[in-house]
């Protein structure tokens, strides 16, 4: 084994040691194992410490990953068992020693009665005791060392066996592929009616699910639905027409507040009908989109981003301000916002609301697709790729950019109105900058300009954190990590947009005299 590959393995070990220490410092060494236990099926009440076995499994996974990486870095193809295992051993040893050192330092500081929570709020004495397996720091550290080495060697071994069985796996894959192609499954794939059936099944599920899964899920899925609405709207502005608007929450706020102020008893006593108010909210947002758009039409890229970022904050601060307290009730927010009614009956149970949100989402998907596939979508895409050339080619860039802003804002207004109506309350803090960033994140993670991507992104970024409540404290961390990872491994997003095939091709001709065809060809 050469010194360079030795160095590489040691480096890998160092990286993983840093990962483990980082996770320990932010208290994730408790959250992680409790997630592991959740997967087993044990539900933990908040604040309880998970079992040590879960910690072993959690750290074991990281260790296996470490060994796997180290084995891959030996650069041999196919992997050589001896050197791979040795690389795993080195990586595990380095990682284990450093983690042991960390455990020793933190353990002895904690043993002296110094509360580390003063410096790192999640590094509680319990988490330190848990990290050293409830033993003394020395024994805990030794356990870490052993665990790290064992799991890294296991990882290296797994890497080698995966490498060796690669051929077998591809054979199996081919077999399965052939089987699905030739059997009834394959013929089903080609069936044109399959799409209709699938859509039907999805619709049926959408009708049945809100009735069966209870109010908790309705709440979560309702939030996801509203974020899908926002995502589709922002996707029209950022993904389709390529204008980086960071103050998208402004339109959300304008929708929510214009809806709230004309339906709530306080402060204006208007109490308009729900559906009428919804329409007003949408139109108000769309108009605000155009009004914002007019002065910033000439801005591009970074400048546009900064200006719109400021705009989002201005709206929130205006709503909150004393100056407009008479109109917006200031920081107190607007209460008792009307729910939907249908033929004089109240329609605002959580199930009804879920249906309403589903309808709005389906409508917005339908509309966004219509525009995406039309000449409007083409013009938007052209603008997003090269605005100068698009304009010189004859695309009325002002018109289309304003149109994108107005439509995107209208969707945000619809989302805002539904959001305010569902909560029966809206306040300035519902419309913080974080909403803009969340929506932008889900558009980027899902895939710019792709509607299925937006839906997928909304489920991953809004749905998963709601389900994984344990991760509450780490939501921003996970967001950031996810964005970085996405930008590295899949910059085009989870479900990138595809372009349609449009060229009209003549039916393939059957050439009777191929020799003549060749001699006459080439006059293109």
């Amino acid at each position: 084994m050469s010194t360079s590959s030795f160095k590489k393995s040691a480096n890998s070990g160092l990286t993983f040691a840093i990962i483990v220490i980082f996770l320990a410092l932010i208290g994730f060494t408790i959250t992680g194992p409790s997630l592991v236990q959740k997967i087993w099926g044990d539900t933990l009440s908040a604040g309880t410490i998970p079992s040590y076995l879960a910690l072993v499994v959690f750290l074991g996974f990281i260790g296996i990953w470490n060994g796997w990486k180290a084995a891959g870095q030996t650069g041999e193809s196919p992997l050589h068992l001896k050197s791979a295992i040795f690389a795993g051993l080195v990586a595990g040893l380095v990682a284990g020693l450093i983690v042991m050192l960390y455990a020793f330092i933190v353990g002895s500081i904690s043993a002296r009665g110094i509360d580390l929570r003063v410096y790192l709020s999640l590094l509680s004495p319990e988490s330190i005791v848990y990290f050293v397996f409830g033993k003394s720091t020395l024994i805990g550290g030794l356990i870490h060392l052993g665990l790290s080495i064992a799991s890294a060697i296991l990882g290296a071994f797994l890497a080698v066996s995966a490498d060796r069985s690669g051929e077998r796996i591809s054979k199996w894959k081919n077999l399965v592929n052939n089987w699905t192609k030739n059997s009834w499954l394959g013929s089903l794939k080609k069936n044109v009616y399959l799409n209709y059936v699938l859509v039907g099944v999805v619709l049926l599920l959408l009708v049945l699910m809100p009735r069966t899964w209870g109010s908790y899920w309705n709440y979560i899925m309702g939030t996801v639905g509203i974020y899908i609405l926002l995502g589709i709207g922002l996707n029209i502005i950022v993904g389709f027409s390529g204008q980086l608007v960071l103050g998208y929450v402004a339109f959300f706020a304008i929708g929510a507040y214009s809806f709230a102020l004309i339906t709530a008893p306080e402060p204006h006593h208007v109490e308009l009908n729900f559906w009428l108010a919804l329409l007003v909210a949408i139109i108000a947002s769309a108009i605000s989109g155009v009004l914002i758009g007019l002065p910033i039409m000439r801005l591009r890229g970074d400048y546009l981003a900064i200006v719109t970022l400021g705009f989002g904050e201005i709206i929130r601060i205006l709503i909150k301000s004393d100056w407009l307290r008479g109109i917006t009730l200031g920081p107190r927010g607007v209460r008792n916002i009307a729910g939907p009614t249908l033929f004089g009956k109240s329609f605002s149970s959580d199930v009804d609301f879920m249906y309403l949100i589903i309808l709005a989402v389906i409508l917005s998907i339908f509309l966004a697709r219509r525009w995406q596939e039309s000449h409007v979508g083409r013009a938007w895409l052209a603008i997003s790729q090269d605005e100068t050339v698009a304009q010189a080619t004859g695309v009325d860039t002002y018109k289309y950019k304003l149109l994108a802003l107005a439509i995107g804002a209208a969707f945000a207004g619809l989302g805002g109105a539904l959001f305010a109506s569902r909560n029966q309350f809206t306040g300035p803090e519902d419309h913080a900058l974080m909403v803009s960033i969340n929506v932008l994140c889900l558009v980027i993670v899902g895939g710019m300009g792709s509607i299925p991507g937006v839906i997928l992104g909304a489920f991953t970024l809004k749905g998963l954190p709601e389900i994984l409540r344990e991760l509450e404290n780490y939501r921003l961390l996970v967001f950031g990590a996810l964005l970085v990872v996405m930008m590295i491994i899949r910059p085009e997003g989870l479900w990138p947009a595809r372009r349609p095939n449009l060229e009209v091709k003549p039916p393939p001709k059957i050439e009777e005299k191929p020799i003549d065809a060749v001699s006459q060809g080439g006059d293109v």
Partner: protein, 268 residues
């Protein structure tokens, strides 16, 4: 002979640099006019002034009897001026056919609302545009490449596609900025024939910026020579070839006398 495009003392200044200095060019309808000159002579800047990317500081651009300087680019394009670019500027992540369809934009009548409702008029227009774009694709010899992303096409095909996009709004005037740059001799010949074809079959007037003198001398009806932003010569290819100022602009002062001497020696 009607005049299609006329520039009158067009001047464009960048800071202290006069990029285009009082240039007069008259292009009659149905002709191929070339603009040549050394690098940095202001040829592309003049193109940008005509197509509206730049607003000239002084002077007028008259197209079809109407002044167009100071108009927004998309309005100029809608009047019937199309162009290509020195460094290819296609919409990279759109397919070839879609690129051409964007070119049709000034002629599309249906708005966003009928696109939302998919009215019969909208459908008909969309079908028409797809058909026409596919025809144009075939016309420039890219049949079968229509559903490829523009960025995946080979270099020569991208140049042709750019011309097809420019033809999309059925222009009266086509501005070609170095259409044969980076092409081998065979591709250059093909492009030359193609430019002739566009003028002959479609009756489109063409202004050409080109460095390849064989192309320029072969297909131009008239040539204007720019140097340091000023027009130093104008005439038929033959006149330009023997113009001492042109030779000096390209080869440096004194070159004209040398070439005259060389020619005499050759004759003797």
């Amino acid at each position: 002979m009607t005049v299609l495009l006329e520039t009158r003392r067009v001047t464009k200044i960048f800071g202290g640099l006069i990029a285009v200095n009082k240039v007069d060019i008259v292009v009659p309808e149905g002709k191929i006019a070339s603009i040549i000159g050394p690098n940095g002579a202001g040829k592309t800047t003049l193109f940008n002034c005509i197509s509206g990317l730049y607003k000239p500081e002084f002077g007028e651009v008259i197209f079809n009897g109407k002044p167009i300087h100071g108009m927004i680019t998309d309005k100029i394009a809608a009047l019937g001026i199309s162009r290509t670019y020195q460094n290819i500027r296609l919409f990279k992540s759109m397919t070839a056919v879609e690129n051409i369809m964007v070119g049709f934009e000034p002629r599309i009548k249906q708005g966003w609302f009928s696109a939302m409702l998919k009215t019969p008029a909208y459908r008909n227009e969309e079908k028409h545009v797809i058909n026409e774009a596919s025809k144009l694709l075939k016309y420039v010899g890219l049949q079968g490449f229509g559903d490829q992303l523009a960025t995946n096409l080979p270099y020569g095909a991208q140049r042709r596609l750019e011309i097809a996009r420019a033809l999309g709004n059925s222009p009266k005037l086509l501005l070609l900025d170095e259409p044969t740059a980076g092409m081998n001799p065979q591709e250059t010949d093909e492009m030359k024939d193609f430019i002739r074809l566009v003028r002959g079959e479609l009756g489109i007037t063409i202004i050409l910026i080109e460095h390849d003198m064989r192309v320029v001398m072969d297909i131009s009806d008239q040539i204007s020579v720019l140097d340091y932003g000023q027009k130093i010569a104008e005439g038929t290819p033959k006149e330009i070839q023997s113009n001492p100022r042109v030779i000096e602009a390209y080869l440096g002062p004194g070159a004209a006398a040398l070439s005259e001497k060389y020619r005499r020696e050759k004759v003797q």
